[in-house]
Amino acid sequence: MTSRQSILSKLPAKATPPAWSSQRLVPAFVQQDQAQLVALFCEKVMLSQATIETVASVNEVPARVAALFPNAEIVVSDVLNNLPWSQVALQRVGLDLAKDGIIAVTDCFAGVAETGTLVLLSGRDRDSRLNFVSQTHIVIVEASSIVGPYEDVWQMLRDATISIPRAVNFVTGPSRTADIEQTIELGAHGPGEVHVIIVDAFEHQP
């Protein structure tokens, strides 16, 4: 008998699907209209020690990044290639894992107002490593993609008929550790700074 068989033989309900209703139980404070959810999201992003700003069009993003980090070297996610990067004073570079202090710009699939959480997907043009090796992570969030509770993110994926990607990263604020004397320090291994740019209009590319 294999270990699989011997373990399963000791466990109840081997084959029949159990009756189970996954009733949703979400906090009341996230059940609001879209405008209120965007406001709540902004408030929670700031609580998570990330910074936030809003722009009207996604085409303004390169200029905003250049204003924050003039003439800096930045790593931009391939999915954002068609933004007007060449028109601003920035230097786009490839990802060098050996380098710390990377500034990375990525998109995100959804924002979760409940805790100011950014939901990032892996994919063909989305290198998940950018979310974690950078020192400064700039994330573009489409206002209409902001939802109340986490559960809505999975519904959005189903509605968009996107099959689940290898990695779905829920990111809330900068990397942190309280291992030494239970005192929080930011920038443990992941980004020490997270900057969120909310875009009112965004051509979303699934």
Partner: protein
Amino acid sequence: MEVTSNQFKQEASKALRNPVLQKALGHIEEGFVEARNQAARRLPEFEQMRDRARDIKAHAIDNLGFYLSQFEDQVIAQGGQVHWAADAQEAREIVAAICLDQGARNIAKSKSMVTEEIELGPYLEAKGLASVETDLGEYIIQLRDEKPSHIIAPIIHLSKEQVSDTFYEHHQKHGYFDKLTERSALVKQARSVLRKSFMNADVGITGANFLVAETGSVVLVTNEGNGDLVTTIPDTHIVVTGIEKVVPTMDDCHTLLRVLVRSATGQDTTSYVSFFTGAKRPGDAAGPSNFHVVLVDNGRSDMVGGVNHDMLRCIRCGACLNHCPVYANIGGHAYGSVYPGPMGAVLTPQLAGVEQAIDLPNASTFCGKCEEVCPVRIPLPSLMRHWREEEFARHLTPKPMRFGLGMWSWLGRQPALYRVVLSMVQRVLGLFAKRGWVKHLPMGTSWTLYRDMKAPKGGSFQQQWRRR
């Protein structure tokens, strides 16, 4: 599971006399207890969520075979592989075989209690497969050749100065010769040293906080981001986890995440909650081509339907440790097990054998705080009481204690004599009292060494009741 829990009493005494440890344990109250209270208060539905969390885990455990099979099917459908390990040895062999098969030279690990339980690190090292712990606390533990003293805060027993000494000793080979005094500088230096481990890793090993049956997803909850680095850079990701971690759906998982994080660190959420589903898809920009999940039983299936069935609900948040007056005074190492505190007092006798851990279920005042804060409402005091009964029944209790308990139970059945003896004891205790407190007792120094006893006043309960 190797434990040294039979030295509990000596180790607990040492811990109480260790001023550095005592100071370090002082951070628990503000860092964990107060933080958890505030987080619970911020969410009006918290108690309702706990009920739901309890029900989800109970349902999943009652149908564990079904959900594990469903999880397995989904992982395979997404290009991953699932391995089943009956015990620690089999789990270690599976992981080592995957690493050897991949020709692994550099293995990066993120924090996992199951890998501590099965002692994976030393086994891999003996096979020439050295692994680097990348969680800051676990990394420091590894450098110091110690064991974690808390299931979510592994170096809660250490001071900043001790961490500084450790880095000064071990980081010179990385070109760092200054002794650091600031916490932020220590964190920064570890970041820079460990960055190379992430970059060069060909295998990443993690645990899992939850497994989601409907999608085959592995859920990892971290604050540092190391868990995501070891699962995104190397070409192979191995998940080592217990069979009790599976939940039916994503919605269920989020309910559990809400109570887990609030109970553990007092945050509303951690910086990173990641869902990993299978291997890198064709064309993906990054991610591991090989995705393995090792489902570890190691005594868990024996708990199904038994007296410790409810313990399978445990989501390893550490709240019972943080709120336990015993843990808060002696720390985790005295327990001699990777699972300390109230959850460890239930789990260690189960996994290592009750004769290996007789003292642990007795190291409780039964104040009930652990059950009060447990996010999945495990009746921890009842489960510890069960072990005490088991010890007595199996004659594992020390002779003097057994004699004392026997006398007590005999006396309790002689009401008249009981009342006489009780009033005598009260009077004798009164003789040792000074200003209302008993600070020294000739036969009870093990009690009075660390605490004073209120002198008896006003007669026994029964006498006072009769006077009403």
